[in-house]
Amino acid sequence: MKISLLAPLYLGITLVCATTAAAVGEVKIAKDAKGHFTLLRDGQPYFIRGAGGAEHLALLKEVGGNSIRTWGIETLEKQVNGKRLIDRCAELGISVAAGIWVAHERHGFDYSDSVQLKRQRDAVRAAVRKYKDHPAVLVWGLGNEMEGPMGDGNVPKVWKELNELAAIVKAEDVNHPVMTVIASAASTKVKGILEYYPNVDILGVNAYAGGGGAATAAKAAGWEKPFVLTEFGTAGHWEVPKTKWGAPIEPSSRDKAASYFATQKTMTEEAADISLGSYCFVWGQKQETTSTWYGMFLKSGEKLPQVDAMCRAWTDKWPANRCPRIVRFESELKEAVFPPGKLCVARMEATDPDGDELRWEWTVTAESTDIKVGGDKESEPPSFPEAIVSAEIGEVVIQTPNKPGNYRLFGILRDGKGGASAENFCFRVEAR
């Protein structure tokens, strides 16, 4: 009698324990047989093939990605296909570098104000408590460029506070490493972290031009712990040549794709001893200097050649459908100054690796005047549909706007199967 009553109770406890153990998703840092750092996720080696963003998750998986990075904890609650983002990720087998925002001084936060510090510490503690047992969580992304994206990073009080925040995270959660992300692997920043922020487990670096060398640069500054390249892609708008009137010249679509591939490969090979992987930027679309500079997708959802490049880098194969390839985008208007109301022709020569029929879309926009730093939100500049006079396959006639100023002509190419390419050039209108 006693035994028969106890048996189902014992079984129930065993099942509960099994379910609880499976839900935690322990992630640890270890060294492999070569002495290289590796993540162990539920005991198995795990290399991050990641993307920054919260969209196009199924496609990410399809092309070989396995992780996303978010910046603020609230993003985990974003609704995706009727589910929370974090649950959708778990469903797809995508891990999450769960970003917890750490305030920036440039936004008004005062790192000597105890009230603000306490509020931030409480928020960090609450965030970790809420999500620490979710199986999709891979690592905590404690802060993004909070040292100031453009400064020299000589900010001991920020590093010291991060050390406190990391201690809070670790007190709440022993199962996930703490990563902090900085802008570039500048020596002063790395040295500052080494001196004031010993609680960090992983250094994350956002680096664009030359991003493949960021891990090497961190090592040269003395970094000996694990590393993740947390944002990379094409050269940044601050890193490229400019027109005579100061507009940054956006790299071509082929150059962008090559940059993504080259950075991924270089970083993986050159820093195999400390690299845990990377997150390309941005797995979605964003207005930052232009509507196409950093996004790996169009606003209308089609993937751009950078996605194909990452697929190739991750899997050594091209995706089933490849994006069109822009060979040349030329015009006498390109990087030139013209009077108002002038008719000009622009030509975009392109091919499609799959032989798909291509369609062009042309747009003239004003040069953005809402340029921020650190990736802060920017508004879209106005477009001028009346500037498009006529369009044929691969060719457009435009009439320069009447209002003097700086503009861009965008050429977007779609293959009708979810692939696209986009380029633009700058021009200026001056009354004569």
Partner: protein, 155 residues
Amino acid sequence: MKHTIILTFIAALLACLPAHGQQLELGDGTSATITGKAWEALNAKNYANAVAYAKKCVEMYEKQAVEMQKELKDPVTSEREEVAKKWALNDVGTCLFITGQALEKQEKPAEALAAYKQLVEKVSFAQTWDPKGWFWKPADAAKERIKALGFDTLK
């Protein structure tokens, strides 16, 4: 005799000119000055001049650069003054990078690739000063460019 002297003078003068016939102003002829002129030409989109200046610097200082590379096991990681002591190494490495960049702009990928490979193979410890306040390694950038140029030809 007079003709011989004149001819010799003309030959010497011609020898100072680059193969494509452009006249280079070498200033004080130091590697730093020539490298500066190469950068200026690259930034001004005068790619032919950029290549010319950069190649001149390599021609004049490569031997010393390679000697400096051999003295090191790793790139110099101490203060700016210490890095600057490897002036030939730094300037030749930088000029090979400029050469590659200019050749890419001239749509000569095979020649650009050769310049980048020479940089990586012979003077990989070279460092270039960024006016924003740090050194970067042209060999690291070259490795990426080698991969990027290779990407464009992947089937």
